[in-house]
Subunit: 286 residues, 2 copies
């Protein structure tokens, strides 16, 4: 997905937020905004938002000497989500359609996105996924495919959302006896999940393996990922890709991808032909 | 008030919105964003937001050849507000403290600000001013001063908000027998009131005169205003200044100013030491 003009102010806001998370001085914050404006002024056509975001967060890390400015909020987000784990586990297990509910809840967790906002309402998000119809609903198609595959590649997105991914993965393992490989970012970027936060959410207990994609982009830019990961991606029978960053970077890639996300900004909503905050399970065309 | 770093993304958003109101092509929109980024990169220290906004809207008007891209929404906003006029007039006249209610309602009208957002909820705004304590409340001080003066200078802000200004001015004229001079912008900028929209709201019927400030800034930049207006400003016994743009441009000016506004963004809220959407009647210090 290309970077729309609406992304410009949003990326500026994100750069400012990141600079503040990294405790940069006001003059350093201003200098980062200038760098971002320079990049936006010279943006090659068709560049996707995670490419700019990757650059922004690299600059912030370099300027601040802080290799993970979002570490504290990642810990808090994971803990907040873990506090809900027992209750949600029971709700899924007792549901008429546990797969459907686990998929919906994994989308609820997608609200924990510091690329969009520095506050989120998890209970509201859970309420919405339980009561609102999906705006794009390929759940039945996803279920059908899950029955036929031997393994699943699962691209994580945000820390804390990981706990909701764990609930879904546990449910898939139980119902389909599927080995699941969970993919994390190669290193810290925004509040995205790295190996550390995946284990903090307990994903190591339920996945057959956790691998990283070798990239520090807040998305999955295949050109920027390790060859090991790209090989796994290319040979995957089925890929679940969580969140906006993965959608923005993979929406035009030809692969057996199911995108699970909330459309948390008007750009993504327009791209998907839905309303803001609509819930999405979008499978491959055809 | 200086331009804070948080204003950068907001001014970009505003430039994009204005470009779209002016029906500019996507490439023209992009070129305007580039101009804005260039201006923001070279911003002299202490420049106030209305200075940049003035520049943005000048560029949009020049690029589009459209001298008032917000004319349609100004007409609609005025009409929406006029539809409420009779009901609110009765509510004020029957109130225990008509002055207090009229002041509050004039602040309700300040929600109609296309510099902040392209949608607003007038009924919600009216409900808030009627039920919520003011975060900064110099109403008693304002009432005391109103009793002692011979004339009032009233700086308007947004079209549609004008109808709420009219309700307040009618109330002041009735209770204090005060001649009121209503000040509009010199020419169109965002959805700010010009002479045309002031008369559409019926302000010509209740004010002793309507004058313009000679400037196309969405605020009152004294250096940019006509000498006639500046003379009137300097000799005013009391000035009511509506809205954020007037606050941003006059907050450091030594004059008998009462600012009536809603703090519609976190920058203004922080500057005033209040919460977003708090209601403000702020008089001169001491």
């Amino acid at each position: 997905m290309k970077t729309y003009l609406d992304c410009y102010p949003c990326l500026m806001r994100q750069a400012l937020q990141a600079s503040r998370f990294a405790n940069l001085s006001e003059s350093a914050q201003q200098s980062i905004l200038k760098s971002v404006m320079e990049s936006l002024s010279e943006l090659p056509e068709g560049t996707s938002p995670p490419v700019i975001a990757q650059l922004i967060h690299r600059i912030v890390r370099a300027e601040s000497g802080h290799n993970d400015p979002y570490r504290a909020v990642k810990i808090t987000s994971t803990q907040n989500a873990l506090n809900l784990y027992d209750r949600l586990r029971i709700q899924i297990d007792e549901a008429i359609d546990p797969i459907d509910l686990a998929i919906r809840l994994s989308i609820a967790g997608n609200i924990i996105d510091f690329g969009i906002s520095d506050h989120y309402d998890l209970e509201d998000s859970i309420h919405r996924v339980m009561t609102k119809p999906l705006a794009v609903n390929d759940i039945e198609n996803l279920k059908t495919r899950l029955k036929t595959i031997k393994s699943l590649l699962y691209l994580g997105d945000n820390s804390g959302e990981t706990v909701f991914d764990r609930l879904l993965i546990e449910t898939l393992v139980k119902h389909y006896q599927l080995p699941v490989t969970y993919v994390v970012r190669g290193s810290a970027t925004i509040n995205d999940v790295t190996y550390l936060e995946a284990t903090e959410a307990g994903l190591d207990k339920v996945c057959s393996e956790i691998i990283d994609n070798g990239s520090d982009a807040p998305g999955t830019l295949l050109d920027d990922c390790s060859s090991d990961f790209v090989t796994r991606f290319k040979h995957a029978e089925l890929i679940i890709a969580k969140g906006q960053g993965n959608f923005e970077s993979l929406s035009e890639v030809d692969a057996p991808l199911f995108f699970l996300l909330q459309a948390k900004c008007n750009v993504i909503a327009n791209e998907l032909g839905v309303q803001e905050f609509d819930l999405i399970v979008k499978g491959p065309k055809g």
